[in-house]
């Protein structure tokens, strides 16, 4: 997927105030960056409080309050480490790569500011090694900063394995410490014992870009977009059946119809929208008219914003077959460590494939609900929970489709190549 074409101009939704994070042209030099955003503020003593006031939540998927996490690291003894997580293993997402390529210094500003605020000795920026062009841009930005000695702490970049699981924070820390990029059994969590055994603040790169702007313009400015519960803006990746696909920035809380208008897409052209990436939830057609891209509204659909991926399923696609492909891909991402994940997700993926074929004997349907409940909370990481959530929503939203397949067998769209990107992944080191 292209990482630089916006699906729409943010200003189409909120005239004059967006984009915040995605300048119209790439700002890869310090001079261009500072001209656009202004200089980095020197004082960071009140930054954590300001981040807490801003209500910023993480953009890596879990939506955890950033100020709380920063506070937790700051309170640990000894110096810490900041990891800027730009690995973006979510196949349908392009927002972190886009951000790193258009505004690398904003991410680096945020990482250094957060690092200073939590007493870090270094910043480690992690990118996916399968995208050398992004790594090159980030490396050049780091080099320019080092040559001009603009930062009070050192920054290094590391190119992480091209794997979905590698972006999970304990996996990333394990890899940075010289091991496989596989999750560990927590606690201790990275904020307690992370890179080199030090307390480690792992934040998504978009989260850090917001930190850089809040440090400059303040919490009140940040809150001037979005809603009380979901303040600020967010990057989204619109993909699949939207008329215009790509990465854009939205004020949090906007309505789904507004997003459809901005991408030039009619709601009637799509069957459903997957929100939140492969750990996400399908929104059925009747929800699309009313739902807002805010936590309270999404919760009514058992959905959350996640990492900001929106995948529109076109009318001519089989939602059941597409979901079965994603389920198999997710199951195959297991790190081979936890029995319930290795065995359970494989069983769930096989049951989904059986539903596509028609499940004449009814075995798959009978087991699936049990297995979904059985795997939740039983892995070292959230792969089982995320997969369970996706499958739960797939069988709910495509219930009619499942009945049709039971009656008639696979449909004409079942044999189509998957519309979802299902990349081949690399090794664990």
């Amino acid at each position: 997927m292209s990482t630089t074409t916006p699906a729409f101009e943010g200003a189409a939704i909120e005239p004059g105030v967006l984009p915040r994070l995605l300048p119209a042209r790439p700002l890869r030099t310090i001079a261009g960056h500072v001209e656009h955003y202004g200089p980095v503020p020197q004082r960071t003593d009140a930054l954590i409080l300001e981040i807490e006031r801003s209500g910023l939540k993480g953009h890596g998927g879990a939506g955890f309050p950033t100020g709380v996490k920063m506070q937790a690291v700051a309170q640990r003894r000894g110096s810490s480490v900041v990891v800027a997580n730009g690995t973006e293993g979510e196949p349908a997402s392009a927002k972190d790569k886009t951000l790193l390529s258009i505004a690398p210094h904003l991410v680096l500003d945020g990482a250094v500011l957060a690092g200073t605020a939590v007493g870090a000795r270094e910043v480690v920026v992690c990118v996916d090694r399968a995208f050398p062009q992004i790594a090159e841009i980030v490396a050049a930005a780091i080099d320019e900063r080092a040559a001009r000695a603009v930062d009070p702490l050192p920054i290094r970049m590391e190119q992480a394995p091209h794997r979905y699981i590698a972006g999970e924070e304990s996996a990333l820390v394990a890899w940075l410490n010289g091991g496989d990029a596989k999750p560990g059994f927590v606690p201790p969590r990275p904020f307690e014992k992370g890179v080199g055994g030090r307390p480690t603040l792992v934040q998504n790169v978009e989260t850090l870009a917001h930190v850089a702007l809040i440090a400059r313009f303040g919490a009140a400015w940040f809150r001037s977009l979005g809603t009380k519960a979901d303040p600020g803006s967010a990057l989204v990746t619109c993909t699949g059946g939207f008329a215009r696909t790509g990465v854009s920035e939205i004020p949090l809380g906007i309505s789904m119809p507004a997003l459809f208008r901005a991408t030039g897409t009619e709601i009637s052209q799509v069957q459903a929208v997957l929100i939140g990436g492969y750990f996400g939830t399908w929104l059925p057609p009747d929800a699309l008219d009313s739902v807002r891209l805010g936590s309270a509204s999404l919760r009514t659909q058992d959905a959350s914003f996640g990492c900001g991926v929106l995948f529109a399923l076109p009318k001519d696609r089989c939602g059941l077959a597409e979901s079965a492909h994603v389920t198999r891909w997710l199951a195959d991402q297991n790190a081979g460590q936890c029995g319930p994940c290795v065995n359970g997700l494989d069983a769930i993926a096989r049951a989904m494939a059986a539903l596509v074929k028609g499940d004449r004997k009814g075995d798959a349907a009978r087991h699936l609900d049990r297995w979904i409940d059985m795997v939740k909370g039983r892995g070292a990481c959230k792969l089982p929970d995320g997969t369970a959530r996706f499958v739960e929503s797939s069988v709910r939203v495509f219930a009619d489709e499942i009945r049709r397949h039971k009656r008639n067998g696979p449909c004409s769209a079942c044999s189509a190549a998957p519309l979802f990107p299902l990349p081949r992944v690399g090794g664990w080191r």
Binding site: F185, V186, G339, P340, G344, R378
Partner: protein, 69 residues
Amino acid sequence: MTRMVVNPITCAGHGICAELFPEWIQLDDWGYPIIDPRPIPKEFAAHAKRAMAACPTLALILRDERAGG
């Protein structure tokens, strides 16, 4: 308030724990333990200890509080 958890990475699915502490541990469809998440009552403390000691990979752990988010 002591709860039992299993380290799913070290657990090898031997199932001995479920035999020794059936009041609290059941096996899933693949032979891995599903542990009752409630605090362990005093009268089961000895059962819990026995199951923990018998686990070949020492995968069972007692936690004094729930690990938070």
